[in-house]
């Protein structure tokens, strides 16, 4: 490495972006101001379900500073599209009711967009909005999924049902037969609680239209600018790509909630075109609570069959998944291909059947949230496995090891479509047990007991799938987009490098990790490498960042582009050094001719590429700038073992996480510090889901947890010091051997926490508890068990 400082693969390089972020010098969407900019306020529905008889904007339109007011009557454009088509078990396509950016005669959830008020200042826009008179006929709302599935109140009258699709995977007959023949069947009812992402930066957008060029620009808080350009340009507003620029500048966290194409993006872009004036909108925190797509919200019953030895024979799962009022961008794929295909987990269950009903309700749309489908699958599996262990009098570790896919069984074909390429579940389990000192648990428990506290230990041995792929398979399953990624490596004449990636960093540290990949390959110091992302006018194309795909797909695309750079540079060096390319070696940024002292630095080769005086011009073009698109052959399959220890105060029901160990297999680790940070954050979110967080609506569809007064986010003092380690098996089908680490924390941890809580409550006879296991719930569970 340059100057002997390791900045390549495996180095815990301090994040390049941190200086900017920690000193408050990031540029977020709300920091962007355009000359002459107006401000938008979105008037939203205060009702979860209502007919709009009329909207009177006369007084509002005459208010001070008002530039324009638009309602659904003005904005007759396409609706917001859904990116994944699911077919029901009878072969019919899912119901895709229209999702208008501005309400067309009806509002279907709290916060639905009714009008946009654009004024010279934000407070003028807000003041005018209060003068808009909307004549609503309030309709009964349907919030509970079971009630919605049964009919009655319809969220969308035209489709005649609230069931969006009724999808299955696996052979139900085979699974029923296997269950009938099983020595034991464990049944469980599970609710996966609804969550609100709560990114630190609320959603925001600044739109602009250049009358001279006809180009629209939208700065927006998105995880995938090219996807927004495609969806909004092609489906909603009919603006061709070359006239539509999407910029996602620094984005302060997404966790999935900023993947989706939101109505505000389309409304602002459209209105900027009408007015030829820039417009800014920034969500207030209460708008974020109300309108950001929410996560999870599954209700499931499942049966796990076991033979007399505790080997799993079959799994049958029936799930209802809440879609909310409209289909958000990826909503339909989350409870199907990102959930049910994961139901084998790291176990050899031979037959699996799952039926998923997606249900419309009068609530804000539900879509991917960190983990998206995989946490729901993991939670179900790891809870039912623990329950089965208890019923069969088996140790929770023993039942897992009896059912693990052995490390020599890869590639392993599951009964639910996926083929795992690599893993070693025993290795992550053993390492986690050592690190956690599970052997010392009995002594710790006795010590806690002496203080009147209950200690519990919980396991989760999980498996997940990252980087949805390949495109052709995803397409066959209903995906309406490709799932490749692109990278361009632009080597400048003096040897510095700009990387253009189609992924987007909103907390993941790509500017560091991707630069390390380049530094490793080209021997260029990190300060000479720039990672450019987030601007459709700079970056060729890309599918963005979600599903832990950035390194596993985007990083590999970069690796492929680097292959091309290296190959071309080698030809140039060979020409100048008068050697054959086979005799050239490339190490630490230097080309050397084997067995001679002839050498040439990478920077000199770059200069030669742009000043091609002594150059193989007949053979290759000048310049050193290469692009690659990479479409993976398969998903990647991170997995691991999370162990949680909790201490419960039975007098109050307070649960404290006292110890947490995460041993994950994320494939090759590029920057261990960044990976640890991703795991810490994911575990924090998992502990949040397990103990603290829940979005609750009342029967009228009002959000009861609409602020931090009622929605409990994890704070630092809710978390233990999290021990993180890795046991690595490499991904076998990508050149970096990487698997992805962004979601493992949030996927693996919730069942470890709940299993620990139930373990702690064993003496009281508590057998089930719902997430979040708040003090009130824990106390109530103890009282109920006593009664």
């Amino acid at each position: 490495m340059p100057d002997g400082i390791n900045t390549g693969i495996g180095a815990s390089v301090t994040r390049v972006e941190d200086y900017r972020f920690l000193t408050g010098q990031g540029t977020y969407t709300d920091d962007i101001n355009r000359p002459g900019q107006a401000y938008a306020y979105i008037l939203r529905s205060p009702h979860a379900h209502a007919r709009i008889n009329g909207i009177d904007t006369t007084a509002a339109g005459a208010a001070d500073g008002v530039v324009a007011i638009y309602t659904g009557a003005d904005m007759q454009t396409g609706g917001l599209p859904c990116g994944w088509l699911i077919h029901s078990r009878d072969g019919s396509p899912m119901h895709e009711p229209p999702h208008p950016p501005l309400a067309q005669g009806k509002v279907r959830c709290l916060g639905d967009q009714v009008a946009i008020v654009i004024a010279d200042s934000l407070s003028q826009a807000k003041a005018a909005a209060e003068l808009i008179e909307v004549d609503y006929d309030v309709l009964p709302a349907v919030v509970d999924m079971k009630a919605a599935a049964g009919g009655g109140t319809l969220v969308h009258d035209d489709i005649g049902t609230n069931v969006c699709y009724d999808w299955v995977i696996g052979e139900e007959g085979d699974v029923d037969a296997a269950l009938a023949g099983s020595a034991h069947v464990t049944e469980i009812d599970i609710v996966n609680n609804r969550l609100i992402a709560n990114a630190m930066e609320p959603r925001a957008a600044v739109s602009d239209f250049d009358r001279a060029t006809g180009e629209y620009t939208l700065y927006t808080t998105t995880q995938n600018p090219h996807v927004i350009r495609l969806l909004m340009g092609a489906f909603v507003l009919s603006i061709p790509e070359h006239k539509l620029r999407i910029v996602a500048p620094d984005v302060g966290g997404g966790f999935g909630s900023k993947i989706f194409h939101y109505a505000e993006e389309a409304i602002l872009t459209w209105a900027a075109g009408k007015l030829a004036r820039p417009i800014k909108w920034t969500a207030e925190r209460s708008e974020s609570f109300m309108t950001d797509a929410q996560g999870r919200d599954h209700v499931t019953t499942a049966k796990l069959g076991l033979d007399a030895n505790g080997k799993f024979t079959a799994l049958k799962v029936e799930t209802m998944a809440n879609m909310g009022a409209y289909l958000s961008t990826f909503a339909s794929s989350v409870p199907t291909y990102l959930y049910a295909t994961l139901l084998a987990g790291c176990y050899t269950t031979p037959v699996i059947f799952a039926n998923v009903k997606a249900i419309f309700t009068n609530t804000v749309p539900v879509d991917a949230y960190r983990g998206a489908g995989r946490p729901e699958a993991t939670y179900l599996l790891e809870r039912i496995v623990n329950k089965a262990a208890k019923e069969m009098n088996l140790d929770p570790v023993e039942i897992r090891t009896r059912n693990f896919i052995p490390s020599d069984a890869f590639p392993y074909q599951t009964p639910v479509a996926l083929q795992y390429d690599s893993g070693d579940y025993m290795a992550t389990l053993k390492r986690a047990q050592e690190l956690h000192d599970t052997a010392g648990f009995a002594a710790r428990r006795a010590e806690a007991e002496a203080r009147g506290k209950k200690l519990g230990l919980g396991y989760s041995t999980y498996l997940e799938a990252c980087g949805i792929a390949p495109s052709a398979v995803a397409g066959a399953l209903g995906a309406r987009a490709g799932l490749y990624e692109s990278a361009e490596v632009r080597v400048h004449p003096t040897g510095s490098v700009t990387i253009f990636t189609g992924t987007h960093s909103h907390g993941q540290g790509h500017e560091t990790t991707f630069a390390q990949l380049v530094s490793e390959r080209l021997g260029v110091p990190l300060e000479n490498i720039e990672i450019s992302h987030g601007d459709t006018n700079r970056v060729q194309f890309g599918m963005g960042t979600y599903g832990s795909r950035s390194l596993a797909v985007g990083g590999v695309a970069l690796d492929k582009a680097l292959d091309k750079i290296e190959a071309k540079a080698k030809k140039i060096a060979a020409h100048i050094l008068e050697a054959s390319t086979e005799d050239l070696e490339f190490n630490d940024g230097n080309f050397t001719v084997a067995g001679t002292d002839k050498a040439m630095a990478f920077g000199e080769v770059a200069l030669a590429a742009y000043v091609p005086h002594n150059y193989p011009i007949d053979e290759i073009e000048p310049g050193l700038d290469e692009q690659a698109f990479y479409d993976p052959a398969n998903f990647t399959y991170p997995g691991g073992c999370h162990i949680c220890e909790v201490e419960i105060d039975p007098a109050t029901g307070v649960t404290e996480v006292t110890k947490f160990t995460a041993v994950d297999d994320v494939g090759r680790v590029i920057n261990p510090m960044i990976v640890a940070g991703q795991v810490h954050g994911g575990v924090a979110q998992g502990i949040g889901q397990a103990l603290l967080e829940e979005a609750i609506y009342d029967p009228e569809g009002q959000l009861l947890t609409g602020s931090y007064m009622d929605y409990c986010m994890p704070r630092a003092d809710n978390l233990p010091s999290i021990q993180v380690a890795h046991e690595t098996t490499l991904c076998t089908h990508n050149s970096l051997g990487v698997k992805g680490c962004g979601e493992v924390g949030a996927i693996g941890s919730p069942p470890a926490v709940i299993n620990a809580v139930l373990d702690a409550l064993t003496d009281f006879g508590v057998e089930d508890i719902a997430m979040p296991a708040t003090p009130a719930r824990v106390w109530q569970a103890i009282q109920d068990a006593k009664a």
Partner: protein, 263 residues
């Protein structure tokens, strides 16, 4: 936020007349409650009269009383040598309000005037038998807290100070709402000249109240077990997203017994 007129008078008399002279004037103390409600457009006072210049802050000992100026911040109470020496339980209570930023701004006068049913200070006022001093009169804590977000203050009446009689011992135990960290249940136990007094905040449908059952039990036997054993009725307690009335009733006993142990 709607537009408003801002005043910064330099005496409490001037502040009182500024509010009296306005259409819909409000005193501004730490702004920790008032400003968020204004930002959300839930309150639209015509005039804000900032009390920061009115010399209303500070702690002094007056005979058997500790007198705390209305504009004294939670942090100043928490770190005051006088409060720590004479009523350490009150200093500890103040140290547990909100977070450091909130404690740096929020004031005892604002908290008491606001009478949030989940606020901490009302429990201290009631348990310690405090007297609320205003620009017009003095009001006992018993008479002052009249219901949720409701007090005996008249329109435009200004709290100038709160006088706490020094107890023989006192302690406050707070069970925080996991989300807001206000009191889900907070119990102040005080041994006072008038006997054992136990005040409960966070739990009651009408705000802070005295727990007669626990006071009786502790009057007979001042012990943690006696407090825990005194059954508190769930009648009249709040049931909401965060806790049932039964759970709150149970917590009152647990917090009271822990407060006794800490006395």
């Amino acid at each position: 936020m709607y537009d408003f007129n801002y005043h910064k008078p330099s005496s409490s008399n001037a502040a009182a007349s500024a509010v009296a002279g306005a259409d819909d004037g409000k005193f501004l103390a730490g702004g920790q409650t008032l400003l968020p409600t204004m930002k959300q457009r839930l309150a639209m006072p015509s005039d804000l009269v900032d009390l920061a210049g009115c010399d209303l802050s500070g702690v002094r000992v007056d005979g058997d009383n500790l007198v705390i100026g209305a504009m004294t911040t939670h942090d100043a109470v928490a770190t005051s040598a006088e409060v720590q020496a004479h009523i350490p339980g009150l200093a500890a209570l103040a140290a547990g309000i909100g977070d450091q930023q909130v404690r740096n701004r929020g004031t005892i006068g604002g908290s008491v005037a606001n009478n949030d049913p989940a606020a901490d200070y009302p429990a201290a006022c009631l348990a310690l038998g405090a007297t609320i001093h205003t620009d017009r009169r003095t009001i006992t804590a018993e008479d002052f807290f009249t219901g949720m977000f409701d007090t005996a203050l008249d329109e435009g009446e200004l709290i100038t100070a709160i006088a706490f009689p020094k107890p023989a011992a006192c302690a406050y135990q707070k069970f925080p709402n996991p989300a807001s960290r206000y009191a889900l249940v907070g119990v102040m136990v005080a041994k006072t000249g008038g006997g054992v007094r136990v005040a409960v905040t966070g739990a009651g449908e009408n705000g802070v109240f005295r727990a007669a059952e626990i006071e009786a039990a502790l009057g007979a036997n001042f012990s943690a077990d006696a407090a825990a054993g005194a059954a508190v009725s769930a009648d009249g307690l709040n049931s909401d997203l965060h806790a049932s009335a039964e759970y709150r009733a149970h917590l009152v006993g647990v917090m009271a017994s822990r407060a006794v142990a800490a006395c």
